[in-house]
Structure formats: C-alpha cells, structure tokens
C-alpha cells in the first residue's frame, strides 16, 4: 500500500470505529464521573448509620456473630456471602430468600465489623438498580440487558481502543509540520477544535487506552468466572454428586481460620457461601488477598467443605482471572486515594472533550475534513517519499 492509501485506510478505520462507539462512550464517560466517587456518594446518600468511633486496631467480631445478626433479621433466608470492606471497618452479609438466586432476589445487611451492630438493612439488588447510583452503573456496564449488554458495551470498549490506535497513526501525518501543542485558535472554529481534538487525544492516549481496554476486560468478568468454575469445579464436586446444597453449615469463623492457616500472610476479602453464583454449591470459598499494594488486588480462592469446615483445596487463579483482577483498579482508579480519583475524573472529562470534538468535527464539517485528508494524500503523492509508519 502506498503511504497515501495507508492514511486513507486509517482515516476510515478511525472514522467508523469512532462513529459506531461515540454515543455509547459518551454515556459511559458521563456515568463514569459519579462512579469514580461511588464510595463517597453512596456514603452521602445512605440513610444507614456510620461505623462506631473505636480505637484503631480494635479486632473484628467473629464472622459467626456478624452472620447471626443478619440471619436474625431474616430468619427464613440463607446467607449468600460475607464481604469485609477494606476501606472502612464494616462488613456486608448477603442474604437470599432462595439458594442460588443471589443476583435476582439478593440483598445485603451492613454491619460494624467490630461491634456487629447492624448499620443498614439494604434494598434488594434488583430494586437498587433504579437508585441514582444503580442507574449510573447500569448505563455504564450493561444498559439493563444483563450479559448481552455487558458484551455489547465491552465490544464498544474495543472499538474505542481501535479508534485510539488509528487516531495515533493519523496524528503523525497531521502533525508533520505543526509543533506539538499547536492550537490554531485564530483560524476557523473547526480548525481550532481539530487541533484541540489532536492535542487532548495524544496527551490522554495512554490513560484512555488503559481505561478503555481494562473496561472491556471487566465486561468479560461473568463469562471468565463461569469458565473458571467449569474448569475448577467438576473434579471437586464429584464426591458430592446428587446431594442438595447443604444448609447445616460449619462455623464461618472456623472456615476462615482454616483458610488463613492454609495460605499464611493473607487477609480475607470475602467468603462465598454454598450456592453463591461465584462460588461452589458445596463449599465456602474464602477469597484471600495479599498484603503488598499489588497482591492486595490479587486473590487466592480457598475452597472449604461447607459441612466439615476443613480446607478442600487452595485453588490457583488462572491467568485470565489474574488479568481481570489487575484490570479492576486500573479501570476504577481507586488504588491511590482521593487525588487519583480526582485525576481520573479530570482525565475522563478530557476524554469527553475528545469524543465530543470528534463528533463535532464529523457533523459540522464533513466535507472540509475529507478535503483535508485529500490534501494530505495529495501532498504525500507529490512528495513521493515513503512514509515511515509511526505505529
């Protein structure tokens, strides 16, 4: 392909991947703004109580006590999971009216992890989907269409990544004679916004690429977990064949202690109960995290026989779940305090400007844009020199 034809091809790639994905990405970027601060906003909107003021280092209550408190509120229901918040000393006990139905009918009780006092009796996840943050999350992740919506928005994320790559390729010929950061503000509005589109696009390139790509990976979390369960579980579940999900369970505190003893130097993030959608029908699954900045993002699942409380297996995370776990902080921007969250929001705003200006450039002056490409092509043909590919 000649240099001119290459530019034309990359321009078409950039135009079409952008056009198809831009409206969805604008929705994703705008809903992403409150989601960056979801912890803070949820605290603000919550009508529950805050955790008690206790000296640092006050030990947690045994899991049995936390679970018993939640169970007392819902005596006929089943425990789905226990999750220990790593930001605040509080625990969430997930409850389900019917075993294995957590996604539809589940809800969680929030407790002070040290005193086991009930702080908030949360709504069902299904009704929470229509709270302010629930709407933001649905528009950001699945458009209320479940797995199909997740895969669709994941695909939009991949188109965004292709748009970024093709945009970088076009940056080369566009900027051949323009110094970095040139904004021809005194020329037409279109030229000014073309320059700003190029400037903001190239400056936010790596951030947008990483957040876009890790976002697409996050949209695959449901099938990736299913894949792991189907490869890990059959051998472990063979001895239990034909048995129902047990309801007379071992002490969760004992299960946690056995899991921690099996993998020293770890902490419990959460424990799935038998029948949990991301667990096993016959085991507690203790999700243990490490104690360094990176390994605190990575979990080792320990399977514990739900009736005896003994460790059945320390499972290995396959590479694709490790990739998923690393891509979470890199997408959420929640791994270095409030300053990083603010930077995430500002870089998100910059991306909104890139998307909006891209759309404007296409709508307002389609013809002028095409003429500019024709001009670049003509110039390359006239120069007759081989164009080094910048990619």
């Amino acid at each position: 392909m000649t240099a001119a034809a290459k530019i034309k091809t990359w321009y078409l790639v950039h135009k079409w991947t952008s056009l198809v994905s831009t409206l969805f990405l604008l929705v994703i970027c705008i809903t992403g703004l409150p989601l960056v601060f979801h912890h803070e906003i949820e605290d603000l909107l919550s009508d529950g109580k805050p955790v008690a003021e206790l000296p640092a280092g006050t030990p947690n209550a045994p899991l049995d006590r936390l679970v018993a408190k939640a169970q007392a509120l819902y005596p006929t229901e089943f425990v789905d999971y226990v999750y220990l918040d790593d930001d605040e000393p509080q625990a969430y006990v997930g409850m389900v009216p019917k075993l294995g139905d957590g996604i539809n009918s589940g809800h969680a009780v929030r407790l002070d992890a040290r005193t086991a006092e009930v702080l908030e009796d949360g709504p069902t996840y299904a009704s929470d989907r229509f709270s302010f943050m629930g709407i933001m999350l649905a528009l950001h992740t699945d458009l209320y269409a479940g797995l199909a919506g997740e895969l669709f928005l994941g695909l939009m994320g991949l188109l965004f990544v292709v748009a970024i790559v093709s945009g970088v390729v076009l940056y080369g010929p566009f900027m051949k004679k323009l110094e970095f950061g040139t904004v021809r503000a005194s020329r037409s509005t279109r030229v000014k916004w073309l320059d700003l589109h190029n400037l903001l696009g190239i400056v936010t390139l790596v951030w947008a690429f990483v957040v876009g790509f890790t976002g697409a990976i996050n949209e695959l979390s449901t099938p990736l977990f299913r894949l792991w369960q189907s490869s890990e579980m059959p051998a472990l579940l063979a001895p239990y064949q034909g048995k129902p999900i047990p309801t007379e369970l071992a002490s969760p505190q004992l299960a946690m202690e056995n899991a921690l003893a099996a993998v020293p130097g770890r902490e419990l993030t959460s424990m799935s109960y038998p029948g949990n959608a991301y667990g096993s029908p016959h085991h507690f699954v203790a999700w243990l995290r490490g104690d360094t900045p990176l390994t605190s993002q990575l979990h080792t699942p320990v399977l514990i026989d739900a009736v005896t409380g003994q460790v059945a297996k320390v499972a290995q995370m396959p590479w694709y779940l490790t990739a998923l776990e690393v891509s979470r902080p890199l997408h959420f921007g929640d791994y270095a305090g409030m300053p990083l969250q603010i930077l995430w929001a500002l870089l998100d705003l910059a991306t909104i400007v890139v998307l909006g200006s891209g759309l404007y450039l296409w709508i307002a002056r389609r013809r002028a844009n095409d003429a500019r490409i024709a001009e670049l092509v003509r110039r390359h043909q006239a120069a007759g020199e081989p164009q080094r590919s910048p990619a």
Partner: protein, 71 residues
C-alpha cells in the same frame, strides 16, 4: 515577522523529523505509564509520584489550550 521557525521539518534528518512529531507524545506516554504503575506497585511516596505524573498531563493540556501556540 516571526523569527526563523525551528520547524523546517523537511530539511532535518529522519531522526529529527521523527522526534519533532513523536518526541513529546512519547515523553507523555512514558509519564502516563509511570503514573499508572507507580501507585499500583508502591505506597507512600510512590502515590505522590503517581499523582504528579498524571497531573502533569492535565497541566500540558491547560498550557496549550489556555494560551494557544500559534503557527
């Protein structure tokens, strides 16, 4: 009249032309990667390094947006 422009691209060496277009983008890309990883792999001072590195991107945007560099 403006002083002789530094950007007579065509007369420069291939390396000069490459750096003229890609020098700053490569620098900012390296800064971004450092900023994203520093906070993921370290704590304390590495968090500060990460905040500064990523904030620098916004400073660059503001610098050229507010006071455009004309051709």
């Amino acid at each position: 009249m403006s002083p002789p422009s530094r950007l007579e691209g065509e007369y420069r060496s291939a390396q000069g032309r490459f750096l003229f277009v890609w020098g700053m983008p490569l620098l900012l890309a390296a800064l971004s990667i450092f900023g994203l990883l520093a906070a993921l792999l370290g704590t304390g001072v590495w968090h500060w390094a990460s905040w500064i590195a990523l904030a620098w991107l916004l400073v660059v945007i503001a610098r050229y947006w507010i006071r455009p560099r004309e051709r």
